[in-house]
Amino acid sequence: MIALGGRISLLVALACCLAGLVAVLRARTRTVPGPGAARWAVGVALAVTAAVALMEAALVGGDFSIRYVASTTNRTTPLLFRVASLWGALEGSLLLWAWVLAALTAWVAVRSRTAAPRLWPGTAGVLLGLCAFFLALLVGPADPFARLPVVPPDGSGLNPLLQNHPLMALHPPVLYLGYVGMAVPYAFAVGSLLAGPDAEEWVAVSRPWILGAWLALTAGLLLGARWSYDVLGWGGYWAWDPVENAALLPWLTATALVHSAMVEVRRGLLRAWTVVLAAVSFLLTLVGTFITRSGVLASVHAFTQSAIGPALLAGLAAATLGTLALLAWRLPGLREEGAVFSVASREALVVFNNVILLAMAATVFVGTVFPLVVEATTGQKVTVGPPFFNTVITPLGLALLALTGAGTVLRWGRSTAADLRRMGHVAAAALAAAVAAAAAGVRGTATVVAVGAVAFTAAAQTVEIARGVRTLQAAGRSLPGALVEVILRHRHRYAGYLVHLGLAVAVAGIVGSQASRLEVHRLVRVGEVVHAGGYALRVDELRAGAYPDRLVVWAPVSVADGGAALAGGREPAPKVVLRPSQNFYRHARTPVPTPAVRSTWREDLYVVLMGFDPGSQTAVLRVVVSPLVSWIWAGGALMIVAGGLALWPPRR
């Protein structure tokens, strides 16, 4: 029943899409667009919502007659992961994708059609066309409601790595929201190109969407990094894996787009460039979907190879060619309105920022697809390792960070002598920080330069925020009151500064954790004390416990200060007891470890139980000590909160 209902919902959604597209084409003959396509768009959203609800009912209810349910859940799967299994494998992910897209399309139809009526026909055509493409995949080669010929007594369950952490429930849908969200600015851009060379209102209409998609991509990347850190047990958070790169690519161009759209609205510059960025960002989300979902590149994410690879590739090729043709036809007609500018201005720095962001995107793209190109041309299989990305991205990233600081200090149009003097002060502070870091024993040119760049950008944001606060303080406000008021009064500007500050903090964390990382593997007896990175660790015992879906073996590890443990004859009091564990899921061949982490602002102590032997009472531990990891999460969280602050709708 559920399977049939789901299939019918998807077919109805596809029919609504096609009807909407017909309505768009017919409305072209009229001057004022009617609500026709908008109504159909709402219909699409409702029908896909019904399909998602039915799929969730099947997953939660354990309807193993549906192949997707049987392959991603079993009787012991906890409720959270039954719900999250919607995005646990290919067909469900595409269903989620189509749902988000349909919902956003309906939102645009209801809210933005009247705000920018000239753009609507092209916008509706793009969004409904995309919906139709993904719905066609869902009723065709990637049918989530496909039935099994024989109903199995139990399902095979989700990959243990995917149900070992609650972030699994959050990371994929947030990332998808960002991916799909990039379709909306693209659709507005296409609507504008079709409407004519003067339809520049698309940027203003798109800005909340651009910011929202950027915010979701940022949050998705951060959650993914955190999931990797908490689950995979290698003590790292980013591996330049093709699927990670696929999410980073649109983030880089979307970051460029956020800034170029600002220049376009403020100064009437970069008009054609902003259109191109919107198009590139959207196309990169399609590239990302293709890389992620076709199994074309070897990845730790190792999604299954599937028949939809060719269909996705065909869709990507069609979208790329269509976009290129449209750009070739319309871009020459776009004229810049503002005058060209001073190099010491925000708009000039945004241009440099865009160049560097695109250079980073080009680097990541080349490194990611290079193996494909080599295999297609020579037949040899190759991989491009992290050294490539680290060598090229590090200098670009540090230059970008420094530009972020400079752009904050400079003005739109032309900066004053006072601005330049302030820049000098900030630069002097950054230089002092770099020298102090080198004197304090920080080694490596790149690391010292990074300390300077981080200090420069953080100082620039702080100085600008402090200037605003001081003006209000002069008017008699208290310090906290002035801080809140200045941020709320010019929400966009100060949210931007706070995002930059968050970026500086996160980069500090990345630099710190990359610059000095200590990793040891040890075989320890229960009761024996081992020393690693200034800590004394002792495995107190080995314990086991049974849960409905798994057996857990854990080793309580008492952690004490290593220096005190060595100096004093008596045993020092443990600071903390960590509980790294191994999880033996039913149906799983091998155990999945859950690392235990002691996180402070200075450094993380990361302990993984790699193996154990109850007979000899021994355990194998992997101990990783990496500095400043928590700064990544703190800085990332600040970026997300500040981005949300900018996105919050204005008071009416």
Binding site: L162, F303, G367, P387
Partner: protein
């Protein structure tokens, strides 16, 4: 004039990036081969950083927890290469699974792995009884 300077600056950055990318790629490309291809290459393959992919031959896994040394044999059905790795077997490492090792092929015929990567798929077959 300013515009020309900006364009010039952008071109300089683009040139630097192309230079960085090409220079970076030269050192970082790692060839991926199978055990039969590796044997077919003969002695010239020794010393080069490679990625060797195959199946962990059943019965070949030997792990010494005292020295933290892992030994196993990677096979593609036609040829097999013994692998030595210092460290703990990674998650999901088991006999019969597909694995990729990165490292160098020694003149003694043993592949010295710096990293062992296990292939696992999200759709996931229970162990056969």
């Amino acid at each position: 004039m300013r515009r020309a300077r900006l364009i010039l600056a952008a071109a300089a950055v683009a040139g630097a990036v192309v230079y960085l990318i090409i220079g970076g790629l030269r050192g970082a490309v790692v060839y991926y081969i199978t055990p039969s291809e590796l044997l077919g290459r003969g002695p010239e393959a020794a010393g080069q950083t490679l990625r060797l992919g195959g199946q962990v031959q059943p019965g070949s896994r030997a792990w010494n927890p005292q020295t933290l040394e892992l030994r196993f044999v990677l096979t593609d059905g036609r040829a097999s290469i013994p692998v030595r790795y210092r460290g703990v077997p990674p998650e999901l490492f088991a006999e019969g699974v597909g694995a990729v090792v990165e490292g160098t092929y020694g003149p003694d015929g043993v592949f010295l792995a710096r990293a062992v990567i296990v292939k696992h798929s999200e759709q996931y077959a229970p162990p056969s009884p």
